[in-house]
Symmetry: C2
Subunit: 251 residues, 2 copies
């Protein structure tokens, strides 16, 4: 039986999702807990990699038991995992899926959010959970950022928004929506696409901040996209503001 798990994790103390030698990763912690719970080696496959310090409000992964039998009914798995897992990761649900389901290749689209805190002093409750950006933005930063964000929507080549050195060749992706909402001192970027390049959301966040500071307009954003050159875009925003927020599959 193959199960689809929905997870939530606080990325601060994880070296990302993916197995790495001698590193605390979500995949490792989850695989160890599954072995303890089910008494057999399990294969856990994620919907994407995430970087150190990046969070997930909704991460999807499949669980396959070594001997094909899951001894705990799926609906009881979240509570069972809660006993074994550390406090910074939780399994929210577990549901059976078809044997050929793949948590990465079958994704229709994913949504990320990126949170930026604009207060002069940091907030103790948001440390490691937002990008604290104490510099002043323009009063109409939200509108300016949204004008630039809108230029990103559609099927386009996002080569300018991929970390230098990535080996991916096809850099065309389809962005469904990309908006910025300001609530008090908290700016939230919300972006969905059929796929994301390495560091794409963090580079977009860093570039949109230029618009909030009055240094970029929609025309400039279109030029950055057209350049297909990482050097044309803004700085890469730090990992702590980034959350994988939604993973959508066709039903």
């Amino acid at each position: 039986m193959k199960l689809l798990l929905r997870l939530k994790f606080l990325g601060t103390d994880f070296c990302g999702w993916q197995f790495q030698p001698n590193a605390r990763t979500v995949q490792k912690v989850l695989t160890d807990a599954a072995r303890e719970l089910l008494g057999t080696d399990c294969r856990i496959t994620g919907c994407s990699r995430t970087d150190s310090g990046v969070h997930a409000n909704d991460f999807a992964a499949t669980l396959e038991c070594g001997d094909g039998v899951c001894t705990i009914p799926p609906e009881r798995l979240p509570a069972a995992f809660a006993v074994k897992l550390p406090h910074d990761v939780s399994v929210l649900s577990a549901t059976p899926v078809a044997a050929d389901f793949h948590p990465r290749y079958d994704v229709l689209y994913k949504e990320y959010i990126y949170r930026i805190l604009l207060t002069p002093v940091p907030d103790p409750f948001l440390c490691g959970r937002v990008w604290h950006y104490p510099k002043r933005l323009l009063p109409d930063a939200e509108e300016r950022m949204n004008a630039c964000a809108a230029a990103l929507v559609g099927r386009q080549d996002f080569a300018s928004f991929m970390a230098a050195g990535s080996k991916i060749e096809d850099t065309v992706r389809c962005v469904k929506y990309c908006t910025v909402r300001r609530e008090g001192d908290l700016l939230t970027l919300q972006i969905a696409a059929d796929g994301f390049l390495y560091n794409m959301v963090r580079i977009i966040a860093g570039t949109l901040l230029l618009a909030g500071a009055g240094k970029l307009d929609a025309d400039g954003m279109r030029k950055i996209i057209a350049a297909k050159d990482r050097a044309a875009a803004g700085a890469t925003a730090p990992p702590e503001g980034l959350y994988l927020n939604k993973v959508v599959y066709s039903e």
Copy 2:
């Protein structure tokens, strides 16, 4: 010059506010930072003690420089403290007050909130910041809890809601308001009073949960108050759900 500081702190890694030998307390961390910043010993006096693990969205304290002169203009102090303080405490503002102002005795009223998370599995983002209570409450828990909470409002003897062993003799306090709000799986108790007895909010939170489980009604709550006996009330809820939320002085 005496300054009134407004602070925010995440209580998880603090042994409360008050100085204690060999313990990391907010008062100590703040006093050390002030000495470094101002180059002189400073006296920092808080609006109340808090227990280990208890948080503050708004804590008030006065700062008096040893030699009476504060070398940094008050409006620049928050940013200056931000450089010296650890990530779990921030100074939000600093304003001059009269020499005879006392941050504890001049309080008109304080507001606390207590947050309870009702999900079956814990939330990684709320660990240490709510009381995770996975047992099922009644569908109308919010109404039942509010009926009992209303019985607490007014000038009354709250001896039943004081930790056993406290040496306070006058246990009469005036509760201004006490309400419970449910938003999704998060229950928030909000309570204001001219003063609080030791563990009062945590005992009230534990007692109101009995109402949410159908084990206590408003009549029962009035009997608990009348008993003036700690044993009559419910269990003491854990510290991690408690936040000092507002400290109000007369202008």
